[in-house]
Structures are given as C-alpha cells and as structure tokens.
Symmetry: C2
Subunit: 343 residues, 2 copies
Amino acid sequence: MNVNLKQLAEMLGLSQTTVSRALNGYPEVSAETRQRVLSAVRETGYRPNRAAQRLATGRAGSIGLVMPIAPGIDSDVHFGEFLAGLGEESVRHDFHFVINPSAPDDEEATFKRLAASGNVDALFLAYVRANDPRIAMLKSLSIPFVVHGRAIGQPADYPFLDIDNTAAFYDATRLLIQLGHRRIALINGPANLTFSIRRKKGLQRALEENGLSFDEDLSQHSLMTDEYGHRAMQRFLEREEPPTAVLCSSTVIALGAVRAINKAGLQIGTDISLIAHDDVLPMLKPENFSIPLTTTRSSLRAAGSRIATRLISRILKTGDYPEQELWRAELIVRASTGPAPKS
Amino acid sequence: MNVNLKQLAEMLGLSQTTVSRALNGYPEVSAETRQRVLSAVRETGYRPNRAAQRLATGRAGSIGLVMPIAPGIDSDVHFGEFLAGLGEESVRHDFHFVINPSAPDDEEATFKRLAASGNVDALFLAYVRANDPRIAMLKSLSIPFVVHGRAIGQPADYPFLDIDNTAAFYDATRLLIQLGHRRIALINGPANLTFSIRRKKGLQRALEENGLSFDEDLSQHSLMTDEYGHRAMQRFLEREEPPTAVLCSSTVIALGAVRAINKAGLQIGTDISLIAHDDVLPMLKPENFSIPLTTTRSSLRAAGSRIATRLISRILKTGDYPEQELWRAELIVRASTGPAPKS
DNA sequence: TAGCAAACTCAAAGCGCTTTGAATTTCGGG
DNA sequence: CCCGAAATTCAAAGCGCTTTGAGTTTGCTA
C-alpha cells in the first residue's frame, strides 16, 4: 500500500539517490527534477520510514523522557504542562518525544536502555533529587541531555535549566517579614526534590538574616495536591501559636491551604498571608482565587519550550545556547498578603 | 563504545543468527550457548538497536499519540492522568509511547505521518469530536488503534473505549429532579467534543422524561478550568431565576463553580446543589471539597490502562479483548446535593 | 570544434537487526 | 560402524533509507 523510496524512484525513472537528495534539500539536484519528485510525493503520499532513516543517519528527530510510573504513583499536573512546552517547540522542528514509562526503582536502567536503543537523539531529566545519581549516569551516556533543575552536593558541570528557587522563596519571605510576619510556615513539595530543598533554604536564609529563627515544625513536605495542602494547613492552624503567613510550593497546594483557612474562619490577607509559587498552570490561575494570590511566578511551559529549543539545537548543531540557565521567578503581589495581625 | 550484535557474535565466536536467536528465546539454541550469550550481554551491556529491530521486524513496541499543541492552546490536566494510565500498563510490556506534537489543524496529516513513519505499532485517539474525520482516517491506515470516546453521527464500527456519558448525566439529573430541583444548569466541556454533547443529552433527556423543559441558556460550554467554571457559575447566579442545581463536567470546573457560589453567599447542598463528573484526578478529590461533592465517577487512569492493555494485546496478538467497551460511571452521593430550596 | 569545468545523476555500500534456507554436528538404532 | 533424523549453527538476504565515489551531460571558452 504505502510507497517506499525504491518504488518512488522507479516510478519517476530516477535513482533512489536523486530522489533522496531532492527530498532532503541537497543542492546538486536540478530544480525541475526536484519539482517532479515533490509532486510525486504529493500524489503517492510517500512518507520516509523513520526507522530506516534513523538507521542510516543515526538521527531520529526525537527527545527521550523517562516517566516514572507505578500503580501507586500519582500523576503530576505539572508534568502535563511541561510537556506542552516541550511540544510547542518540538512541533516546529518536526521532532517527537519518546516516553518510556519506568518503575521508579528502574529509572537508571531505563535511561540507559533508551539511550542505547538508538530511538532518541537526546534525553531529558526532571524532578532532580538531592544527590541525584542519574546525572552522573547521563553524563556517561554520550548523548546530549538537559536537566530541568539542579542537583545539590555535586558540581554543576552539566547542562541544566533551573529557576532560582532559593531566591524566589527568599524574596517572598522578605516581603512577609517586611509586613511584620514572624511565624512563617511552609507547605513544600516532596522532601527529596531539590527545588523543595532550595525553597526551604530561601525561607530559612531570609528568616535568619532578619534575626528570626526557622522553626522546623512549621515546614511540611508533601505531594503537590489539594488534599495535602489542606491537611498541612489544617495542622498548622491547630497549633497553639499558628503561623501568620504561609508559603506554598504550588498553587495546587494553595488551593487546599485556602480551603483550610476559610474553614477555620480566617481571612486571607488580613488574618493570615499566603504566597504560592505559580507554575502558570492554565487550569488554576492565582488571580482567580477568591482572594487573588501573591505568587512567585515562573512558567513551567516556557521552561519546557526552552529546553526543547536547546536540545534540538544541540542535536541539529544549529545556533548556540548557554549550557546553564538560572531563571529568576517574579514576585507578584496580589491580595493574599497583608500586614501581620497584631497579636 | 556500545557493542552491536556483530561484535557480540564475534566475541563469542558465534554467528549473529545464533546470538539473535538466543536473545529472542527461540528453541533451536542449546541451553549452554544461550547461557554464554546472556552472560556476555550482561558483561558488555549490549542493547539491541531499536531502529534496526524495527526495520527488520516491522514492530517497534510503541504506541503513538498525537498531541495537539500550539502557543495558544492550554494543556489539559486530564491528559496527564490518562497518560499515567497508559504508562502503568505499557511499562509491564516494555512498550513506550511516541508522542507527536501537532498543530491542531494538522492532526490528520500528523497521524498519517506517524503511521507511515513505521515508528509506532498502534495509534490512539482521544478528544473525539462530533463527526470526527480522524476516525475514518484511522480506519484507512491499516494499523491497530483504539479511540477513547465515540463519534456521533457515524456508525460505531471501530474499536473504542468510552464511558456512558449520557447515562451518567441522566442519572445525575434524575437524582436532582427527585430532590425537587427544576432549574438545573450545566457547565460542560468544549461544545465540539462528544462527551460534552452526550452529557448534555443525558441532562436533556432526564428533564424531558419528567415533563421539564431544557433551557439552553442554562447550559454553558467551556474549557475545563477553574476560571471558566467560575465565570459560568457567576453568570448563572446573576440571572433573575438562578438555577437551584448545577452539573459540572469536571471537578476542575466545579472548583470554580464552588468559588462563585461561596462568593454569592450561598450554601452548597442547601441553597444550591452541585454534581460534578469525577475523572479521579489525584490532584483534586471531590471528597475533599469543603462540602464533599456528589459525583459521577469514572477513572481516567483506569481507562488509559485499559486502552494500553487492548492495544498491546492486539499488537502482540495475545489474549482477546472486546473491541468496544462502554463503561458505566458510578453516581456517588455526597454532601453537595440536597433538596431543592422552597421558593 | 575540441576541451574542461560545472551540473546532474547513478550504482553500490552500509546502518544493525531478523529470518530463511542450507550446512554441520550429534545421537540412537539397526 | 553406518545412516537418517534431530539438534544446532551458520551465511546471506533483506528491511528502507543516506551517502560516498564515480559516471554522464551540459554549457562555455578557446
């Protein structure tokens, strides 16, 4: 049914070489011949077989991701948004992704398999953990890669794109301190992920620089869902001296936190201040909360798009991009922050 | 650096044939030889090149998806959850996905390209539209596929998995009617998607069967985000005779609707009843809403997993699954539904 | 009109694997 | 101790493409 190069060439009375060259834009084909080839392609609906192309060139036009998955593991909203960013850029260059699901304890092996399979031209790693062994492994793999995030406790000598999480939460905390807050709580992402660690550090640093002490009990780690946000906030509010302000690592967490605050009959922005990190999820905009949320903003989608750009330029050897980028999150003040209540 | 089959065979003093057979579990290899081969693989870290394998066998161990994407298009939370389901099952069979981003108006061509590329063994289609031309196209493609959802206005003579959306919203509406509600609003998904159309039909049918008329003005279509849910609900509440009950096509929509209701000073479950469709997103559980939500429930993730199962069994020609499945959503009554207020 | 570079086109090799059909070895029975 | 069947192993072809190195035309210049 489907035509292949050989048949196409035969139909045209040309050699495979010429047809291939005509298609791939080589200069040594006469304009007339190229036209003939192109219109034959249109008529027959010829599409080159990617596997063969891949085998011949060593390039596949694809980016590989490993998706940790297991019956118990929840999907992460943020993943979809990131993917959208990757896709947005990839589609321009006719690239695709190969997503390899993997049991969480088998991720390294999956990466290796993916790289060796020849199915992908580049790899991408996210959800970086503190001293992440996967990075060293990627470096050993001789295939381009970009890390979204950065490890901690090992030299940053690999290509990455990260946001300055420490600075983001440092700034947020400073704002709260300026408003008079003293007890500032944190509902963070999972404890082993570096962005969580850095955000906590940002909070801690700002507190200490202002002569305040960091209270470990006011810091919670959890999955970034509504439910956990709610639970954590509830627990904070049950304390003898509840915090007067809270930082949330995601607007999804904030959702639950806001609910807990409302339930407790407190008013956001006056009784308690809240700042969330905003990944710019289209599903959930901080400005649409009943009390619009003050946020540290950095678009996850933009990050995805940028990483695709860099990866693709590496593969195609076009353009020249910095190997390491640290984006600054914007602090956007809305109504959820206000002066600390007099106590 | 990486070994290939030829080198491996050379090292072992065997032919490529034998090594290949040993690896792929063919019976005509002596147990001893097989052991030698396997341990050599372990030592060298040999991984077969998938592109070559693909070229030789015609199979790749992959499922192809087309992801519509463009700078303006929002990512959909539901997509990630579905992917998790697909992944959960795929990982068991060492399958992967090839995701091809595509401009929305180029989807058909992208499907064709994907199928012809030889990169995938099966295709998957979601977000079915009313009279979706993509289905006819898939049928013409001679590659297995499963549709998540069903078209309307064309024979259902293709493999699909869908939930009975009509029945779900019919049941939900009946419950509301039994509770005395007469003005029931609907905040639905995009107007061109078949699940939206069917849900509306369910509502309509239940109303008419009970001698109530369907009011087109009480039905809104929108993207399934918090923001649109909020906006739609707000508009409903501004009417002279606001509805006493509302159906939401997603818990994400419900989120915004609840907010609008609260803002209007109304009490959910007494002043106004709400039923949402629950895709079982881990991020947002209906039982955790401040007033737990009555829902029609059907796990999107389970659907993804099931579709992967069917697709893979088709590819591998193992097992035998029904070609068409219509799942029933469960109606789960919680606190957000109550008797209609006396007016 | 010969001669030469430039412009085209081609045949064939090779990417790494599977699989066919044939060759070789092993083994039990006569 | 030979023979045919069963058990192993192998060489080579082929999957569909790119690319090298060489061959053929064409268009000018001298």
